[in-house]
C-alpha cells in the first residue's frame, strides 16, 4: 500500500482512460500529460495503461508499505525521497517505510508518480481513472491508501532518460481544423492564429479557459459530440478547450481540435502561461 499522509492540492489516480462509455455521457478521463506518462511507464517496463498518480500544483507526502521501484515525470517539482532530492525520469528503488515528499513547483503543473506494475485499485467501467460520479472520489484524500504489487528485484534496461525540459515550455499547440472551422470568418481566423493567448484561472481536468477573446458569432448548432482537445467558441468569443474530464457533447462550434501532443503540452500550462495555435 501507498499511504497518503497528505494528499496535496489535487492528486488523482489515472490510467489511459475510460473507453466505450461516452455514449452514456461518461468522459474518457485518463492522464493529462500522456507524453510524460508513456516515458515513466516505459522506464518501469510497465504496460502503457498502468495507473499512475497525477499530482497537480502542490504535491503530497506519501509513505510506501512495500518495496517497489518508482519513476517520476512531467512537471519539475522539488521531490525528496527520505529527505534526499530525486529527479524526473529516473528509476529509484523503494524500501518498506520510505517517505516521498513534494516541495516547490518549478516548471509545469502536473507531476506523475509511477510504481512498478502500476497501482492496482479495482477498475470501474474499464478504468482506474478517478472521475466522480463513476469513482467515489474526485481526488485522493489524506490518510487513505492505494494498493500496488511488491517488487524487490527489477533490473531496468534503462535507469534514466534525458528529457528535454523545453517540452514543458513549448508555446505552440499544434491543432487540426475542427468540424465548424469553415464557419469562421477572416477576422476570427486572423485573431485565432496571430494572438498569443494566455491560460485563464479557470483551468482544470475538465477544461482550460482562455483570457483573450476573439470576435464572437451567432452560429447556432445542435448538440453534438466533443472530444478531449476540442476548442469551442462561445457566442461571446470565449475559447474553451476541453480536456480529459471534459463533457462528451456540446452545443458551441468546435473550431479547432488539439493534437494528442498539444493536449499534453497544454496540460503542463497554468494560469497566465502563454500559448499560440498552429495548424497542422
Amino acid at each position: 500500500m501507498l499511504n497518503i499522509i497528505k494528499a496535496g492540492f489535487f492528486t488523482t489516480l489515472q490510467d489511459q482512460g475510460r473507453f466505450l462509455f461516452r455514449n452514456m455521457g461518461v468522459p474518457v478521463s485518463g492522464v493529462m500529460d500522456t507524453m510524460a506518462v508513456s516515458k515513466i511507464n516505459a522506464l518501469l517496463e510497465n504496460d502503457d495503461n498502468d495507473a499512475v498518480l497525477e499530482i497537480t500544483m502542490t504535491g503530497p507526502v506519501l509513505s510506501f508499505e512495500e518495496p517497489t521501484f518508482i519513476a517520476l515525470g512531467g512537471a519539475e517539482m522539488a521531490v525528496f525521497l527520505n529527505d534526499l532530492p530525486i529527479r524526473n525520469y529516473r528509476v529509484y528503488q523503494i524500501k518498506k517505510g520510505d517517505v516521498l515528499s513534494y516541495g516547490k513547483l518549478e516548471n509545469g503543473i502536473r507531476n506523475y508518480l509511477g510504481v512498478k506494475g502500476g497501482f492496482t485499485t479495482e477498475p470501474i467501467l474499464g478504468s482506474r481513472s478517478f472521475y466522480k460520479p463513476v469513482t467515489q472520489h474526485n481526488s485522493v484524500k489524506d490518510h487513505t491508501s492505494l494498493p500496488y504489487g511488491i517488487c524487490k528485484d527489477f533490473k531496468p534496461k534503462i535507469t534514466e532518460l534525458k528529457v528535454d525540459a523545453s517540452i514543458i515550455e513549448a508555446k505552440v499547440l499544434k491543432v487540426y481544423k475542427g468540424p465548424e472551422f469553415q464557419q469562421l470568418h477572416p477576422n476570427q481566423l486572423e485573431q485565432l492564429f496571430y494572438t498569443e493567448f494566455s491560460v485563464a484561472k479557470e483551468n482544470n481536468r475538465m477544461a482550460y479557459q482562455v483570457n483573450e477573446t476573439i470576435e464572437g458569432h451567432q452560429v447556432s448548432m445542435l448538440t453534438s459530440a466533443t472530444l478531449p482537445g476540442t476548442v469551442q467558441l462561445t457566442p461571446a468569443g470565449k475559447l474553451i478547450i476541453l480536456m480529459k474530464d471534459g463533457q462528451t457533447t456540446g452545443g458551441y462550434p468546435r473550431i479547432l481540435q488539439l493534437s494528442d501532443e498539444a493536449i499534453a503540452v497544454l496540460s503542463q500550462k497554468k494560469s497566465g502561461d502563454h500559448f499560440a495555435f498552429k495548424l497542422i
Binding site: N23, M24, G25, T223, S224, T249, L258
Partner: protein, 245 residues
C-alpha cells in the same frame, strides 16, 4: 433508410463526424441509429469504436489507431448507400415519476409567471408529452429530451444555479431533462425525479439510450420519498414498455 444526404468531416485524427440535415426529427435520429447498428454488425468492431449519436450527427471515435480520413470517408459513403435489410431498433418507453411540488421545483412559479399559465397546467403539459432521447452528454446519464410542448418553451435562466440537486427536472428551449447528479445548471427546475439516471455499479450504467422515449407522471411528496428509498435499496420497479417506431 439512407434517404437523406449526409456530409462527412474529419474531427482530429481519432474521430470522424457524419452529419445529417440540421433538423430535430425522429426520422433522422432513427436513420442514424439504424446506420450505427449496421456499422456495428458489419464493419466497425464495438471493442475498437465508440458511436456517439446526437440529434443530426454521429461521431465515430477510434480507440487506438489514427483514422485515415481519405480511406474511411468513401467507405462510410458506400456503407451508407449500401442496400440493407430492414433493421429493428430496440426502443423502449420509460415512465418516470416526477414530484412537481414547489419544494423541489424551485422555478415552477417563475416559469408560470413567465409563460402566463398556471402551475397545474405546466404539470399537466409536461407530464402528458412523450419525449424522445436525442442525445446523452453534459454529465454521465444526462439525456437531452426533445418533444417539449410549445407552450412550455422558455429560455435558460439568465444566471445558472451553482447547485442543482440530483434528480431535478428542468426545461430550457425546446428541451427537458433530468440532472443525474448535483451540478451547476442553467435550466428552469420544475420538479424532481426519484429514479437514479446513472449508476456506475450497474451493468448498464445509464438505462436510457438515444432513441428511447420518456413520459413523466406526477407523484406526491410522500410517493417521491418512498420511491427514492426503494430506488436506493434497489427494489424500485421501473415502468418500461416496448416501443414500436
Amino acid at each position: 433508410m439512407s434517404s437523406h444526404k449526409i456530409s462527412i468531416r474529419p474531427f482530429g485524427v481519432h474521430a470522424i463526424l457524419v452529419e445529417w440535415p440540421v433538423k430535430i426529427e425522429e426520422a433522422i435520429l432513427n436513420e442514424i441509429l439504424e446506420f450505427v447498428q449496421y456499422l456495428k454488425k458489419y464493419h466497425l468492431k464495438e471493442s475498437e469504436w465508440e458511436f456517439i449519436p446526437a440529434y443530426n450527427s454521429l461521431t465515430l471515435i477510434c480507440r487506438d489507431a489514427e483514422i485515415d480520413f481519405g480511406v474511411l470517408k468513401p467507405k462510410l459513403e458506400e456503407w451508407y448507400l449500401a442496400k440493407k435489410e430492414p433493421v429493428l431498433l430496440e426502443q423502449y418507453l420509460w415512465r418516470l415519476p416526477v414530484c412537481y411540488d414547489a419544494e423541489y421545483g424551485g422555478d415552477l412559479q417563475e416559469v408560470s409567471d413567465h409563460l402566463g399559465i398556471s402551475t397545474q397546467e405546466i404539470i399537466k403539459l409536461h407530464s402528458s408529452a412523450i419525449y424522445t432521447v436525442y442525445g446523452i452528454g453534459f454529465l454521465p446519464g444526462f439525456t437531452y429530451l426533445g418533444g417539449l410542448p410549445e407552450a412550455l418553451e422558455i429560455p435558460r435562466k439568465p444566471v445558472p444555479r451553482a447547485k442543482v440537486f440530483k434528480g431535478s427536472v428542468g426545461i430550457a428551449g425546446k428541451q427537458t431533462g433530468i440532472y443525474p447528479q448535483d451540478s451547476p445548471g442553467g435550466w428552469n427546475i420544475i420538479g424532481i425525479c426519484s429514479v437514479s439516471m446513472f449508476d456506475a455499479k450497474s451493468k448498464t450504467p445509464c438505462f436510457l439510450k438515444v432513441g428511447d422515449k420518456v413520459q413523466f407522471y406526477p407523484i406526491s411528496k410522500a410517493e417521491y420519498q418512498l420511491h427514492k428509498i426503494e430506488s436506493e435499496v434497489g427494489i424500485y420497479k421501473m415502468e418500461k414498455l416496448k416501443w414500436d417506431a
